[in-house]
Amino acid sequence: PTDQTSIALFLCHPLHWPSLPAQRKYMRSPPIPEMATQEVQLNETLAHLKTESETLKTKLEEERAKLHDVELHQVAEKVEALGQFVMKTRRTLKGHGNKVLCMDWCKDKRRIVSSSQDGKVIVWDAFTTNKEHAVTMPCTWVMACAYAPSGCAVACGGLDNKCSVYPLSLDKNENLAAKKKSVAMHTNYLSACSFTNSDMQILTSSGDGTCALWDVESGQLLQSFHGHAADVLCLDLAPSETGNTFVSGGCDKKANVWDMRSGQCIQSFETHESDINSVRYYPSGDAFASGSDDATCRLYDLRADREVAIYSKESIIFGVSSVDFSLSGRLLFGGYNDYTINVWDVLKGTRVSILFGHENRVSTLRVSPDGTAFCTGSWDHTLRIWA
């Protein structure tokens, strides 16, 4: 090897430097003169890399700033303002014994799966409010749940550090827990899970700082995603037309976009001032929104590679737990820790509506697959359907 970096790596390989710590400890006059030189080279290389890192970070900021020629809301000035919205609670789903932590819609646009701190996972018919299935998990705090694309299974997990899949039986009396399949294993809590575009693969995020892609049938780890410096709290898959990527948000205030096949982090955004609790792709796949404990929602455009809008008000001081877009992407719904839902005009950056009803934090929010309604889950033990 000739260049400094390669030399450094060469030396770092265990085969070439098996007892470095011991030799460092007792080395006053090095037994072999080259060893001291090599260590100096190691430190010089580290210093060079640090400098390069700083230079690249500055360059990245400069490149992004160069293209920041206008704000989204300025471009949208000529767009017609939105009128008054009448959105009310149309259904209330009662049955959980404790805080609702997560929910997901079935593709059939009427069924919903929800999970709670009480360890229960319930499947509801949102039209009739009837409970169709209920499973008791072996752990409390089931923080994540997801419906399979086929509608024939649900996935869930939380403090058990796992993601398990339960096939849904047509027989309401059948014990769902008996057919449970453990798929994912993390080394800390499961914060979110999502099936990919089939029942065969699940994407998970965890308090252990990683995301992972799993094969449901075998439980095999297909790909892992490393890059967050703290708990990963949320993830969202890109709309299928956009290709194999997903976005994740974490306690390190970063939102990362990943290539599912290679495991590489493609883009990273760090403008939030606190934990990112929720991320959701814009329907075209060219952007994504995030909701954070810093009480703001933000929009990041992937092609401009930067934040293009902030949705905030001085009067809003509580964190955002969950965000989702309406079908056209014009509206952004945010569930907040102050029990409210704020509805934002994505283009103009203004709030168009504030919705009341829940009696505690809104912890989860999803728009239905056909966009006719959205569902919220809350620490007040209920779920509400709004339209």
């Binding site: 293209l67 206008v70 039209f127 493609i266 952007a287 006719t372 959205f374």
Partner: protein, 68 residues
């Protein structure tokens, strides 16, 4: 062995930064126009935006008959 593991971590971080710095970007003005266009093109198909009437929204007050 902290020096060499720092080096490996640093090397990975620099590689990641090089990759991120090299991607192609478009101007915000262009990106914004595209976002706006998508919204406007799909506005009519957005029930929560247009406020679809009770007869077509299964969640609105009208009693719903479903044939199973």
């Amino acid at each position: 062995m902290s020096s060499s593991s720092n080096l490996t971590t640093m090397k990975k971080a620099v590689q990641q930064l090089r990759f991120e710095a090299s991607i192609n970007r478009v101007k915000v003005s262009q990106a914004a126009v595209d976002l706006q266009q998508f919204c406007l093109q799909n506005a009519l198909q957005d029930p929560l935006l247009t406020g679809v009437s009770s007869s077509t929204n299964p969640f609105r007050p009208q009693k719903v008959c479903s044939f199973l």
